[in-house]
Symmetry: C2
Subunit: 339 residues, 2 copies
Amino acid sequence: MTTLKELAALLNISVSTVSKALNDSHEISENTRIRVKELATKLNYKPNRIAQQLKTNKSKTIGVILPTVTNPFFAEVLHGIEKTANANDYDIIVCLSNETLHKEQRSLELLSNGSVDGFIIAVARESQVEQQTEHIKATLKTDTPVLMFDRVVHDVDCNKVIVDDFQSVYAATEHLIVHDKRKHILLVSNIEELSVGKLRIEGYTKALNDHKLEAQILNLDHAGDGDVERKIYDYLEAHPNVDAILSIDHITGIVAINMAKKLGRAIPSDLSVVGFGYEHTQVLSSPKISIIHQKAFKMGEISTKLLIDNIKDKTLKSRTVVVPSELNLSESVEVHPQF
Amino acid sequence: MTTLKELAALLNISVSTVSKALNDSHEISENTRIRVKELATKLNYKPNRIAQQLKTNKSKTIGVILPTVTNPFFAEVLHGIEKTANANDYDIIVCLSNETLHKEQRSLELLSNGSVDGFIIAVARESQVEQQTEHIKATLKTDTPVLMFDRVVHDVDCNKVIVDDFQSVYAATEHLIVHDKRKHILLVSNIEELSVGKLRIEGYTKALNDHKLEAQILNLDHAGDGDVERKIYDYLEAHPNVDAILSIDHITGIVAINMAKKLGRAIPSDLSVVGFGYEHTQVLSSPKISIIHQKAFKMGEISTKLLIDNIKDKTLKSRTVVVPSELNLSESVEVHPQF
DNA sequence: TTGTATGCGTTATCAC
DNA sequence: GTGATAACGCATACAA
């Protein structure tokens, strides 16, 4: 890699002159500036980023800690983060906690040494269930901004970007009741332990209460793939009066549709199905599932923006931004009526 | 952030003594070593990674450039990369090319300044279609190792990790012919432009030729979501003799199952369906789709291992590793016979 | 307009 | 056993 020193030697001038020339300093003559720049491009000179970072004590890098990236929600958020970070001249270092507290702690530790200027984090299932917050508080104490999104630990004072979990499920449930005239709405859940799961269930329960209907919940936490199908099938078979299914994740709704069809239920006439979903969710189901579409990409964008603002001005006080979801009804994707 | 200098000042000893003490140098007395370490932990000292990087001229960081991360294949590969990198004390900086050559070039450019010790890259659709390789060759010339996976440009001399696209599809096709006794196998494709798509199609064509059967291909490149369903539906309706469908991506196979059911085809008795798939693919289809399971996670692991070896010894000559896929037949996931 | 000197935080070499 | 000094590559305050 070409360095300033090498350029200086070749041109018989000092290192600082070269540096200034490349940075378009006014104190450098037109002539030498051109000479310097020509040689620089010729030798494909690029300032060593590490050296610059050491000098300025800024890494222009954001640490992103995600529970997983195979969940399409987090994948989309990551996309939003990456795009916004790049647009603002930041790189991102990605760590996956794999839903464990231990890896999350370790990642924070390892990057809290000047490697990154701030963190964007969705806490691991374990961290959230056990309400572990010390590692995050410790990071904040070192004056490194942290932004939490989606999976949030409330006990920590930092910027937060969350989904309107309660609201969106409340609205979806109410839509099933009021618009679809459903009375026996089954909630299917495999994330009951998470705060987002709890909020979604509360939204569902509240809506049912407000309309004097009874809640019924099929909990699939820790169920294997085969079990999910079987349990949904068995439940539907045993409860033929179920006329709507609300899934609070991005998988079980589609499974429910498949099981309902197998049982001969007509969708959507006999049974409405709503789930959470992302880019391709609706393409994969037939008949189309209605989805609560979380604006994952947007969450990534907003999170990054907030964090960068916080990095630039650490006196900013913490905010919590709620990103509203969108209810995409199955009708709206019925592009071709014959299907 | 605590520095060596601060520790030294507080202990009234020199910076170099502190440094040696922390690095367990033999030339330091038991006594001072303990004093130093105690203060260090007390003040939560961590060596500044940037300074170390400048000193050693190594970033211990890998640049990962992916076309997208919302495709589950790349998400799983990323998972494998992250895990292996971390296990070897490397961080990863992730860039998403969004399938554009321009962003890919830019990412390589921006990170080729000491930020990373090497690259793992799956080239963008555009780069591959247009056979653009200059940016990669330029990077290699700066003595920065590059490893390409999945989407490979053959014209470049570097380590490569690829899927057995031709073989796996050949084998799957032959299975449909020999085991399932199918004679009219439709190939559904939305990635015909990519090298992996071409190879998969060749595998299919070769198998059919070898068994004196005729190929029929439904090309869905650039089709919108609604169009995909319609085109598959229309094709199946117009060609009632189709007795097997082979999808070479992770979406259209499931769509095909749904459309076939809508047309009253019995699966798998009337129609076999095989697609590419990952973690949750089979859960989402009913009846179960058979999938060619690419070992994405493993590819990530192997890629990272190879790259790190290459970083440590740049004289190593380039290798190409083929990671075999696995044919997961639908029967093997029929955990519950009643379904 | 150009050059010299200094420092970012660390490690390594060499004296003492 | 300890410390002074230099160096990584860059940027900048200060001289000339």
